[in-house]
Structures are given as structure tokens and as C-alpha cells.
């Protein structure tokens, strides 16, 4: 699989086992930059033992974990056995779920599955993704995760190109969301960006209302201008109340089910 890597929609086809690197710069060995119990995610999922894999196939200038997401070698090399043991202890203590995230976990799917295989069979598993994977990735994911938390970041191609340097974004994400909705519990998450309520959130909301009317939507208003946000004037601030209220009205008018 890694000898001809086509896990994400860039489909670089590089041989990661031989040291070749695609756009994500990930090698054969996955690294993790964080693994701990957290309570910031959706209420039905927390506390969650969140395992964050280094590296990502997107290059979002506003990424809140940019230093680790843009560097696949950040953190520590994956130790699946130790991580699974820690996750199992967390589940026994008070964690409700185990969440796999990044960066982007899709680019490390073989390593993710190695950890999953060591977890208790009844562990509730969450796949937190940018939804930019391929059909090959989906084939590997089928039946594995109980919940997908999928980030739908951009509502139009121009913003995706400008802010994350990714083409064909909408088609890929929408394809993944439609697939996930038929597989497991799906939560579509959108982090509102300042100046992008109309061009991004409104478009996303209308697509969800039309194509995934039963999807649960997590609308997040906590954007903070980190990493390379200063490359884009509109992303150098947090959201204001007017934008948040407008976003909520859009959700209400579209009939979306919002989750906290």
C-alpha cells in the first residue's frame, strides 16, 4: 500500500517504503505528536482519548496544529502497543471514545489500524478526518470506526485553493461524506472562519441540507488566527458576534441539526 501511496486524493503514487515522499512528506513510519484524554470535542464523544498523528495532506495556512501537521516527523515514532495500552487505560478510567486524528490520520492508515487492532473490541472509535481520502482509504476504513467527525472546511474551490492549496476539494470531500453517512455515525464539523461565512459556511450548509439532510453538524466558532493565518488578512482575527449569529441563522434556515 505504501509502496504506491494513494491513500489521499492527491494520489501521489510514491513509494514511501523506499523513502520517497509525496505532498504530505510522510514516510513509512508514523509519528504522533499528542495522545491524551480531552474534552473539547462534541459532547457525545468526550472524554475522548485523542491520538494525533503527525503530517497532513492539506496545507491549510490557518491550521491550529500547523507545526505538527506540516511536519510528518514531528513528535515521537508510533509505538502501537504502548499507545493502545494507554488508550485502554483511559477507556477503563473515564474515556468514552478513542479518537484518531492528525494532522490527518488517513495518510497513516496502516499504522492506525495497527493501533485499532490492539484496542478492546468494544471500544467506541472515532475517525476525525479532513475527508480527503480515496476509495482505497475508504475500503480500509469500512466497518472499523463507529463515528466519523469530518471537517468540511471550504464551501467553494477558490477558498480551498487559496487557503489550503488543494484542488478538486469539494468533489472529494462530498464523496467521502456521502460514503461515511452510509457507514457509521457522521458528524460534519465546520470551523467558521472570519470573512468566510457567506462563501464557505453558507455553501456548505446548503449542500448538507440538500444532500445529507439527516447529518448532524458541529458548527465551531472558536477559530483562532494561528500558524500562517497572517498570510490572509481576513484570517488575522477571531470571529465577531455578527458573524456567529449569521452562521447560526444560516444553519437554522437550512434546517440543519446542530450538535454541541
Amino acid at each position: 500500500m505504501l509502496a504506491d501511496c494513494r491513500l489521499c486524493a492527491h494520489e501521489c503514487g510514491v513509494n514511501r517504503l523506499a523513502g520517497e515522499m509525496g505532498l504530505c512528506h510522510a514516510g513509512a513510519k508514523a509519528c504522533c505528536f499528542s495522545a491524551q484524554s480531552e474534552v473539547a470535542d462534541e459532547l457525545e464523544l468526550i472524554p475522548t482519548f485523542a491520538i494525533a498523528f503527525s503530517g497532513c495532506d492539506l496545507r491549510c495556512d490557518f491550521c491550529i496544529t500547523g507545526a505538527e501537521s506540516w511536519n510528518a516527523a514531528a513528535g515521537e515514532p508510533l509505538d502501537a502497543q504502548t499507545l493502545a495500552a494507554r488508550a485502554s487505560r483511559a477507556l477503563a478510567r473515564n474515556a468514552r471514545t478513542v479518537m484518531f486524528l492528525g494532522g490527518e490520520p488517513t495518510i497513516h492508515l496502516p499504522s492506525v489500524l495497527d493501533v485499532v487492532a490492539r484496542l478492546p473490541a468494544d471500544a467506541r472509535l472515532v475517525w476525525k478526518t479532513n475527508a480527503h481520502g480515496t476509495s482505497q482509504a475508504r475500503d480500509l476504513l469500512e466497518g472499523i470506526f463507529d463515528v466519523w467527525v469530518a471537517d468540511f472546511k471550504f464551501g467553494n474551490p477558490a477558498c480551498a485553493e487559496r487557503l489550503a492549496k488543494v484542488s478538486d476539494y469539494l468533489r472529494v470531500v462530498q464523496e467521502n461524506l456521502l460514503w461515511a453517512a452510509g457507514q457509521c455515525d457522521l458528524i460534519v464539523r465546520h470551523v467558521l472562519m472570519p470573512g468566510h461565512v457567506g462563501c464557505c459556511w453558507s455553501k456548505i450548509a446548503h449542500w448538507l441540507a440538500a444532500e445529507l439532510p439527516d447529518a448532524r453538524v458541529s458548527l465551531r466558532s472558536g477559530f483562532w488566527p494561528g500558524w500562517h493565518s497572517d498570510r490572509h488578512l481576513e484570517l488575522t482575527r477571531t470571529l465577531n458576534d455578527v458573524e456567529v449569529q449569521r452562521a447560526l441563522r444560516i444553519a437554522t434556515d437550512a434546517g440543519l441539526e446542530l450538535v454541541k
Partner: protein
């Protein structure tokens, strides 16, 4: 701002906070330990209340 904390199991935990000029605090990688601290600092913050196990869930949305 990055804040480290220790739990009973002595694992290092990391949360990141952004404190805005108007007093709002945003949190990333929010741990239960940090949530409890933030709850103590902002007693009336329902958003934090519902993220602490054993507390009754209340209304309003939580920033990411």
C-alpha cells in the same frame, strides 16, 4: 500559551489557550484538568460546565 499539567498517572498533558483582549479564553487540546481550572476561573461558564463529567449538561455551544 501552552500549559502543562500532571495527572494522578503522572502523564504530561498539554492544553493550549488563547486569551483575547476582551477576556475571552479559547482552548485547544482541552484536557479535563484544564477544563476544571477554566471552570474555576469563569464560574458562570456553562460551556465548560458541560465538559466536566459528572456535571449536568447545560445549553449553548462550545468554541473549538
Amino acid at each position: 500559551m501552552k500549559a502543562l499539567a500532571r495527572t494522578e498517572s503522572q502523564e504530561d498533558l498539554l492544553s493550549e489557550l488563547l486569551i483575547l483582549p476582551d477576556g475571552r479564553v479559547m482552548a485547544h487540546n482541552l484536557t479535563l484538568e484544564m477544563a476544571r481550572i477554566l471552570k474555576m476561573l469563569a464560574f458562570g461558564d456553562d460551556n465548560m460546565e458541560e465538559r466536566i463529567p459528572g456535571r449536568p449538561g447545560l445549553s449553548s455551544a462550545k468554541p473549538s
